[in-house]
Amino acid sequence: MLQKQITPAQIYGGSDIKEKEFNTWFGTLLLDDEGRIDDCILFDNDPEMLAAVVVKLQKEMLPVPLRRPDIREAAIECGFVKLDEEYDILLRDVCIRAVKNQISRADADDSRIIQAVEALDDIDRNVNELGERLFEWYGRYFPELDMTGEELARFVSTYGSRTNVPSDHHLFEKASRSMGPELSFTDEEIIRAFANNICSLYDTRRYIENYINNSMGSVAPNLCNVAGASLGARLMSMAGSLEKLASFPSSTVQVIGANRALFKHLRTKAPSPKHGIIFNHPFIKNAPWWQRGKIARTLASRISLASRTDFYSGEPDTSIILCLEKKLEIIRKANPVPPKREPQKKSPVRGKSRKGKQGSRGKMKGGKN
């Protein structure tokens, strides 16, 4: 969109000229030392294109020269518009377009990801139920077959009756000696169609997962970077939106997904739960148990920061993950071995928090289902 724009370096061949370049919504002004206009490169008077310029400049956040002309006066001086009224009308049109574009990206996007996450959950529920039916149904004809889930569905969809298992298949022996009755042709067709549907649900599931992985990078790049695409998407979905996630204190982020334990905590003043879905993050999962609490706190605070950065600026900021890694390193170094004391003999305060941990672990299972 900006191919027409010539950089000052191209004109003057200098690099120190850079700070005397003032990029405005209607063109680039080249300034002299006093901040007066030396030259200007104007854009076309096309609102849609100018709106794209506004959005782009807002993202780039180029440095602005301290001494610079007023941009309204500059627009008239450079001949971009003739009258003040003309300036007002065009700028308003351009800014409204720019803002619409920005907000539709800012919050329509997280909702499409949330829909996708919820669709995954729907598929999981259905696929489990259908899988159990297939297991029971097909099991009557081939009880020795030791398969479930996707593997079973693929098997039935490929071979149908066990008599179709080819002789070079590792299950050929089992299939030919099965004590299950033969499948009639009609039954085989029906069972196969049923299995085909389960397979296609698994395909769709993978398709959606890919979609989430790919879009998280543009919708919430920092959250995706820190939490991973699927955990990040899940946090957004449980919070309700990226905006809500961004508004939560990190202590809440830490327990998102531990709902039952959390409600119990709020209702009965039971110790607050420590296991939200962020415990599925490999940083925590792979850590020794005595480091997990500390890592969870750090991770939650970084996730919180990442979602705020995504919500308010949308710009990737690698310092968030770098800082997280540094902090994890410190935690690992500071806590190399498990605490010595027997859990039972801990001080009362500690004992209490341990109980909380156990309680919430129990609840986690409930929360996950």
Binding site: L57, Q58, D70, I71, D88, R92, I96, Q102, A106
Partner: protein, 228 residues
């Protein structure tokens, strides 16, 4: 009903038993956020609830409001435009740049901008004036209503970027967004000191008053850019 102009474009309607703040409706027949419309001698006014607007309460607190008919105003923290709509009414011949960074509220604000010709919406973070310096011109007045811990800093950097030499800064300071437990008076004193000393721009504070009973724990400030 008795109509008296308090400031350019802002009126007091006196019904005998009650005085009400209002602006002259630039878009007759249209209420923006459910406020009442009152027609008096063929002129339509929109009632302005000072309890819902820092600027409205500053008017009633008799601040010497520097907004003129033809001013250029930069409004930081426009939210969905409740107050901005009244500023828009006051600016018969001026322009208000309305800045807000929450997408949800921006959605409402854009709708208002589409109806009114003198509001320019900007979706940006007030901490980063260089991200909108390519849009905003020199302003006669900067009005800031942003509940952030670094309110003074935000006001200072925006003034540095956009406030004209003779420009005014109007600021609403919310003590609880700076320190939840400290005595508001102490917070106000510190924020004013910050504003006057901490940044590479100088202000002369012309007026300051607490905005109670309209807004508890808020201080209104009117300052002028100080040219040494």
């Amino acid at each position: 009903m008795l109509v008296r102009e308090l400031y350019s474009g802002a009126y007091e309607l006196d019904s005998g038993d009650r005085k009400m703040l209002a602006t002259r409706n630039m878009m007759p027949g249209m209420s923006v956020y459910g406020e009442r419309l009152i027609i008096e001698e063929d002129i339509e006014y929109r009632l302005w609830d000072p309890g819902r607007s820092k600027l409205g309460s500053m008017l009633l607190k008799k601040f010497d409001i520097p907004i003129e008919q033809d001013s250029t105003v930069l409004y930081l923290g426009a939210a969905s435009g409740t107050t901005v709509s009244h500023v828009s009414d006051m600016l018969m011949d001026g322009l208000v740049y309305a800045l807000e960074f929450s997408p949800r509220t921006m959605r409402d604000l854009v709708q208002l901008c589409e109806i009114r010709p003198n509001i320019i919406p900007i979706f940006a973070d007030a901490n980063k004036p260089h991200s909108y310096a390519h849009i905003v011109e020199k302003a006669d007045v900067i009005f800031q209503d942003i509940a952030q811990p670094n309110q003074a800093e935000i006001a200072a950097i925006n003034s540095k970027y956009f406030l004209g030499e003779e420009g005014y800064l109007m600021l609403s300071i919310k003590s609880r967004s700076i320190d939840t437990i400290a005595n508001p008076r102490k917070v106000f004193r510190e924020e004013l000191a910050k504003l006057q000393n901490d940044f590479s721009i100088e202000f002369e504070v012309l007026d300051r008053k607490e905005l109670a009973p309209f807004h508890e724990d808020h201080l209104g400030v009117l300052a002028k850019r100080f040219m040494g």
